[in-house]
Subunit: 177 residues, 2 copies
């Protein structure tokens, strides 16, 4: 049965090489949970459907995409408020840079595209009305481009910042038609 | 068997009501094909995965999301060039408007979000190396927010504009990590 063991090892090695050679696709799901809310990066979030896009100028100076899991997309499209338990909204951000390549074609400086992943690449809102009852039913998490969560002090700022959006269940992003 | 027929009719009616009551979600797939390349709006494109986002200033003044079908996403992630036949890339655009709601929270004017669908809401690139051999293997299409295609003159401008991006198979958009 030695050849079977050999075959399994060979297959595992090839699989390992394939995985390590895959292009980076955002931070991987890590065991590291964000403080306070205990949220980890949900696998496959980069495959989620689009809710909207935005540009934040000022210090953030980013271009961002807001994606949602199936529960989030269904709620947005049906106008369900408050969002149901199980909703996860993911905000991805990249640095806001001019595209020399596009500007050459347009004949003027007008095109802005994502550069590298922003320092705080990934923000998450997770709906669990019981677990997160003290913060409007939402848990919040923020990760850098390597999947490392922000510290507790940073996470304490999430809910107070979202409180003004109470009328839309503490969510700022509207669905882009 | 009359009651079965009645039941079927009732179910069809309810289904019809549900469909017609669904929120608008971009222009529907219409029979109207865009000129020159004969492209129609692919069903479900609003559910496709995200390639990237961008802001075009100047006359366009929009925020845009670039989505891809499964063939497109696979090719982007694996760095496959030229893109394989069956690739479809969809560019959605919305007017670029300040968000008063977000700016109040940030305490300054820095937040820009999608307003209404842009005049030319949807642009498509469809790869078919045989059918579209004369234009780099790509067919192009442009639709307004009601799903009406642009005219022939407009479609004649697509390929010349994309020619400078020959090194990336005539595609401007890079994958946002």
């Amino acid at each position: 049965m030695k050849w079977i063991a050999f075959l399994l090892v060979a297959v595992a090695m090839v699989a390992g090489i394939v995985v390590s050679a895959a292009p980076t696709n955002g931070p991987a799901s890590e065991d590291a949970a964000a403080p306070i809310y205990g949220i980890t990066i949900p696998p496959g979030y980069r495959d989620w459907r689009l809710i909207s896009v935005a540009h934040e100028a000022g210090n953030l100076n980013d271009l961002r995409a807001i994606l949602g899991n199936d529960v989030a997309i269904k709620a947005y499209r049906e106008g369900t408020l408050p969002f149901p338990d199980g909703t996860i909204i993911a905000r991805l951000a990249w640095s806001y840079v001019p595209s020399e390549e596009n500007n050459k074609v347009f004949g003027r400086a007008q095109s802005f595209v994502p550069g590298s992943a922003a320092d705080w690449y990934l923000q998450l809102m997770v709906k669990d009305s019981k677990k997160y009852a003290a913060t409007g039913g939402w848990g919040f998490a923020q990760f850098d481009k390597d999947g490392k969560p922000a510290d507790e002090a940073k996470h304490k700022t999430c809910y107070p910042c979202h409180e003004p959006a109470k009328a839309s269940d503490f969510v700022f992003t509207h669905y882009a038609p």
